[in-house]
């Protein structure tokens, strides 16, 4: 078995008296799609914030590619190869779809402390951005203001932005949230095309999608890992059914 690309050990986080991440450990292998599920408020998003560096942890370590990155801020982790999307779509609404992606390309191609030249006309940045938009099916929307895109298109744009940083690990927080059936199928297709090429942590409430895509599933409840492993095994675990899947089936 190869080395885990992401290795989270005994991670903790409290908001006041509320323990939101409670001694969480998990690994993600290169190319693995690792789904994290759990009821609302289980602490999934908080865990993703800690892994991406948006939130500092109270204790524990995060290792990425063998390096301890626990103390690094989010922007430094991006340069190590961690990219993420947000549960609540986070884009630059006043920029075009193309520029949203081109900025992410710019972030890893040369210095951004360049004070001359028109950034939006840098062909190399735009070409790469355009091919990523194409990948997520937004080629025709490239020059529209990102804020004017539909909800589903914004989610897809966010994935393209994340990919533009050339990550080795993708953290996706409910990419299907708030989508209709059709839109949701499109994004599932995108995820399927990414599977195997990136290590992916996928938080998702859509169980059909999770069990169709995941190589491994970890279940969080009240900030604790209550089960982790093969999707089929996790699915049939009585503890998991009680905590989560049970009320889903009802």
């Amino acid at each position: 078995m190869s080395e885990a690309i992401l290795d989270v050990e005994n991670l903790n986080k409290s908001f006041g008296a509320l323990r939101v991440t409670d001694d969480v450990s998990l690994q993600v292998m290169p190319g693995e799609l690792h789904a994290i599920i759990g009821p609302n408020g289980a602490g999934k998003t908080t865990l993703l914030h800690q892994v991406s560096g948006l939130l500092a942890s109270d204790g524990g370590t995060v290792r990425f590619g063998g390096e301890d990155i626990t103390g690094l801020p989010m922007h430094a982790r991006v340069h190590r190869g961690i990219a993420r999307t947000f549960q609540i779509t986070s884009i630059l609404p006043g920029f075009t779809a193309l520029e949203n992606v081109a900025l992410a390309v710019q972030g890893r191609s040369g210095s951004s402390f360049r004070f001359f030249g028109i950034a939006s006309r840098e062909q190399a940045l735009n070409d790469e951005a355009a091919s990523l938009l194409d990948l997520v099916g937004l080629a025709a929307r490239a020059d529209l203001g990102a804020g004017t895109l539909s909800h589903g298109e914004k989610r897809a744009l966010e994935i393209a932005i994340a990919l533009a940083t050339k990550p080795r690990l993708l953290l996706l927080d409910e990419p299907l949230a708030g989508m209709g059936h059709e839109e949701s199928n499109k994004v599932i297709e995108i995820l399927r095309s990414l599977k195997g090429r990136y290590a992916i942590v996928l938080i998702e409430h859509d169980m059909d999608a999770v069990f169709a895509l995941a190589d491994r599933v970890t279940v969080l409840s009240y900030g604790r890992v209550i089960a982790s492993g093969d999707p089929a095994v996790v699915r049939s675990s009585p503890e998991v059914r009680a905590a989560y899947l049970g009320d889903e089936a009802a």
Partner: protein, 330 residues
């Protein structure tokens, strides 16, 4: 404006810079042409006193443009920008009082001192957000203000009178009204060009991105703090240039240049003209100073009228004067 964008969506350049399109070129060109031609009106019989007002407008326009760089493009509401006016002005006054009256020394000192002040205060204040940033920039400017009021060696409260304008490599060229007028215009155009160049550059794109969504920028690998700090230093230096010119224009330096009211006026100019356009700041400075002059001509209680007028502008012209004039929205 959005029609313009979508109908042209097949071509190569993304919409953000083009959004302002031709307006971005024509409006500033017209403004600078008007400033360039204004002295001719004196030959046509206009009271030269008005030219002095225009010089004042151009100087404050430089300060307003510099503020728009961080406010309109960086989202940084600095309530202490007048500090840089004072620093630039005191560089002239203090050096002159020690016999160093040449611009070739004074101007670099003014710019350097502004940069240092911006770097140190920015390093601290840019770690805060929103109201805290407003308060902390105000606090730093007030510190500079009180420091100068207490420095009796340099005039303290009363300020200091300059006996002559700065020389340029020994020449008294700035003493000539017309030469000084065009020097100020040149400085305004240069400041505008620098800011315009910055905002469309790679650097400026990150700055604008961080204004819209700082977390998103961090999530693609940028540290907004560093970009904001550089913008803050550049902005402070440009405003320091305005201070250098202001001291030469009035031939007087006073702590009042950095009083919080001045900082407030700079904010009003930028907002009045229209945020995030740069030329809007010039229009705002012009409108503000003309209104002030005009209302003061009617009554000594002009402020009673001025205040409510600004409130009305804020309510009815959300995007400033420029926004109201160029509105083509659906």
């Amino acid at each position: 404006m959005s029609d313009l964008v979508s109908s042209a969506s097949t071509s190569d350049v993304p919409a953000t810079p083009r959004l302002r399109g031709t307006v971005a070129l024509l409006v500033p060109a017209a403004i600078f042409l008007a400033f360039a031609l204004a002295p001719l009106l004196v030959h046509a019989g206009l009271d030269p006193f008005y030219l002095s007002i225009v010089v004042r407008i151009m100087i404050f326009a430089i300060a307003a443009v510099s503020l728009d760089l961080i406010l309109g493009f960086g989202g940084l509401v600095s309530f202490g920008h007048a500090a840089f006016l004072g620093i630039g002005a005191y560089a002239v006054g203090i050096l002159a009082s020690h016999g160093a009256g040449d611009a070739f020394l004074q101007l670099p000192v003014a710019l350097f001192a502004s940069a240092v002040f911006a770097f140190l205060t920015g390093w601290i204040s840019l770690r805060t957000k929103g109201v805290h940033f407003i308060m902390i920039t105000l606090a730093f400017a007030q510190m500079a203000y009180f420091m100068m009021t207490s420095l009796s060696a340099y005039g303290g409260d009363d300020g200091m009178t300059l006996w002559t304008r700065s020389t340029v490599a020994g020449s008294k060229v700035l003493g000539d009204t017309t030469a000084f007028y065009y020097a100020c215009l040149g400085a305004l155009i240069l400041s505008y060009a620098i800011c315009r160049c910055l905002v469309v550059s790679r650097f400026g794109r990150v700055l604008r991105g961080a204004k819209e969504n700082a977390v998103r920028m961090e999530a693609i690998g940028f540290d907004p703090f560093r970009f904001r700090l550089v913008a803050y230093v550049v902005s402070g230096m440009i405003c320091g240039l305005a201070g250098f010119l202001l001291a030469n224009h009035t031939e007087y330096v006073s702590p009042a240049y950095m009083a919080w009211q001045r900082s407030g006026e700079l904010l009003i100019m930028v907002i009045l003209g229209g945020l995030g356009t740069l030329h809007g700041a010039i229009i705002g400075a012009t409108a503000f100073l003309f209104l002030e002059e005009w209302l003061a001509g009617f009554t000594e209680h002009w402020r009673i009228v001025f205040g409510p007028l600004l409130v009305l502008v804020a309510i009815f012209m959300e995007r400033g004067i420029l926004g109201a004039v160029t509105r083509r929205r659906r």
